[in-house]
């Protein structure tokens, strides 16, 4: 049984069918990449799957349970987490507090207990902090744990977002261009981390423009163009498919993205 499955999902904005009749499934431990030219609908697809948009057609299921139309806060509790293409960091909080927030679904939510400052809250804070610190350590970010996130460089924030997404112990992790704007070293580290996460049984859905990264670590690649599926296959099949090359070159004269492939 697939961990995450979408069948026939779609959404329109104004008259534009941004995502149309898209179906796919992701298994545990798999790295499933979604590629396509700019405007193909990849990020919209992510917003549909993560519950930020409500699909006007189709079904989504997580772990065999239908989650169609559920808001993101409920999906988080069911084990779906994501990062964003344009950073969504809590800049006023410290790096570790950003990651600690990712533990929210596992924490006690009794406001009265929190107001009274019971020892159990202190204990939980320490557990959450320890867990978050472990995640930072995994990405060698422990040194910046107590710095305000607003003062950190872009590459660090990209990795911080991944750490936050991992903090909820997701079964499915959606990564929207995790390596965009990162230098070669950082990209290599992110690449390594994604493989490691998938090896622990998490289903990873990856949108990425860095084709070297995609081709190196993906198990399957899903190609989108103009909101629809163009093809799906192993990285090598996709890279050599004439339809894929045409989709990239045909919509973008510069062929900027295809050049990476």
């Amino acid at each position: 049984m697939a961990l995450l499955a979408a069948s026939g999902i779609g959404i329109s904005f104004g008259g534009v069918r941004a995502v149309d009749d898209v179906s796919f499934s992701v298994n545990a431990g798999e790295i499933f990449s979604v590629i396509g030219p700019n405007g193909a609908g990849k990020t919209t697809l992510f917003n549909l799957v993560s519950g930020l948009y409500a699909a006007d057609a189709g079904n989504i299921s997580l772990n065999g349970e239908s989650v169609t139309g559920l808001p993101p806060e409920n999906l988080a509790a069911k084990g779906l987490s994501r990062t964003f293409q344009n950073l969504q960091i809590f800049f006023r909080m410290t790096a570790i507090e950003n990651v600690m927030l990712g533990r929210h679904v596992h924490e006690n939510k009794s406001v009265f207990r929190h107001l009274l400052g019971l020892p159990s809250t202190g204990r939980q804070n320490r557990e959450t902090r320890d867990y978050a610190m472990e995640l930072l350590r995994r990405q060698k970010l422990e040194a910046i744990a107590d710095q305000p996130a607003g003062s950190l460089p872009y590459g660090v924030l990209k990795r911080l977002e991944i750490a936050r997404a991992l903090a909820c112990e997701p079964k499915v992790l959606l990564l929207d261009e995790p390596a965009a704007g990162c230098n070669a070293t950082e990209t290599a580290e992110i690449d390594h981390l994604i493989v490691e996460v998938a090896n622990t049984g998490v289903g990873v859905v990856l949108v990425e423009h860095d084709m070297k990264l995609v081709m190196a670590i993906s198990h399957r690649v899903y190609v989108m163009a103009q909101g629809r599926m163009l093809m799906e296959g192993k990285p090598a099949e996709v890279a050599n498919d004439p339809r894929v090359i045409e989709a990239y070159l045909g919509t973008d004269i510069q062929g900027g993205e295809a050049a990476h492939a």
Binding site: S50, L52, P71, P72, E73, A76, A77, S81, R82, F84, Q88, I89, F90, F91, R92, M93, T94, E97, M100, L101, G102, R103, H104, V105, E107, N108, K109, V111, R113, H114, L115, L116, G117, T121, G122, Q124, N125, R126, T128, D146, R164, A165, A167, C168
Partner: protein, 313 residues
């Protein structure tokens, strides 16, 4: 300021020391009155800071809750023979209910729209208080029955200085407990990215409602104290200008700083008193002072000074 769980007593402890130290040396009833006003305002500002400074949700109608608290201890004992302490608690409870009721529709709004909606709420409360003359005495206000504890009437500014002081220490402790908890992290997260908070599993609507209700309770208790200290209350306590004053105190002292709330309240209560020396230029000087503070201490008095101290250890 980031406090870990283990040194969470530092801020309330220091505050208690300062309040006691000042309380022992103030020379006259007038000073105690000003001191009590500072502490009472600070209580409301701490609550508003949770909403505005930490969670990033604007309220331009917070004096509405101050008005509810104030009139609860004025109306209930006089017209319904409710004991004053019970009236205070009922006022706080009612403020909480009102916040939950109006918060549900208006907290969906953001930025300017939320500001205007809350402003409308404040104006509404002030209007009701002005027009229900039979209960509230109308625009002239009404006399408030003094608080009695064990047959003793509490009316001196000294007594209210101490009551307000201890309440503020408790209020700050509670606020700090909240901030150092999962709920606190969630509400601070709203300020920067609601989307990221939702994806992390935070029920954003519930969180906004929670902090709005908590801040309403702070304002309501402050309103009750204000009425009991003055012995007289008018609808101005719920008015728009008072709401703006509270927001100014938050921003002046420092958004997202509990001690900043106390400092902001102190500056805005004490400064006009001190500036009476300048007679007709009083308001001009006050305006100039506020502008200077905002220009040179942009993040508010306390956060800016802490940053500067941090840079030169």
């Amino acid at each position: 300021m980031r406090l870990s769980w283990d040194n969470r007593w530092i801020v309330p402890g220091l505050l208690l020391l300062v309040i006691v130290a000042i309380g022992l040396i103030l020379p006259s009833s007038y000073y105690y009155r000003v001191g009590a006003l500072v502490l009472i305002s600070a209580l409301a500002v701490v609550g508003l800071n949770l909403l505005l400074g930490y969670a990033g949700q604007v309220s331009l109608g917070h004096a509405g809750f101050v008005g509810i608290g104030a009139y609860a201890v004025a109306v209930l004992p006089v017209h319904f023979n409710v004991p004053t302490p019970v009236a205070l608690l009922l006022g706080a409870f009612f403020s909480c209910l009102v916040a939950l009721a109006i918060g549900r529709p208006i907290l969906r709004l953001r930025g300017h729209f939320l500001a205007v909606a809350t402003l409308g709420f404040g104006v509404l409360v002030a209007m009701v208080l002005t027009n229900e003359i039979r209960w509230t005495g109308g625009p002239d206000g009404m006399t408030v029955k003094r608080l009695e504890i064990l047959g003793e009437r509490i009316r001196t500014p000294q007594a209210w200085y101490w009551i307000a002081g201890f309440t503020l220490v408790i209020g700050i402790t509670i606020a700090q407990n909240l901030l150092n908890s999962p709920t606190g992290r969630a509400l601070r997260a709203l300020h920067d990215s609601e989307v990221a908070a939702r994806v992390a599993g935070v029920d954003v609507a519930r969180m906004k409602l929670t902090v709005f209700a908590i801040s309403a309770v702070y304002a309501s208790v402050a309103g009750s104290y204000l009425a009991l200290l003055n012995g007289h209350i008018t609808p101005d306590s719920a008015g728009f200008l008072h709401s703006v004053e509270l927001v100014t105190m938050v921003v002046l002292g420092g958004m997202g700083s509990l001690i900043g709330s106390v400092v902001g309240a102190a500056v805005l209560v004490i400064l006009p008193q001190a500036l009476t020396l300048f007679h007709e230029y009083e308001h001009l000087m006050l305006g100039v002072f506020i502008i200077l503070i905002m220009v040179f201490l942009r993040d508010g008095i306390v956060p800016t000074l802490l940053q500067r101290l941090g840079r030169k250890p």
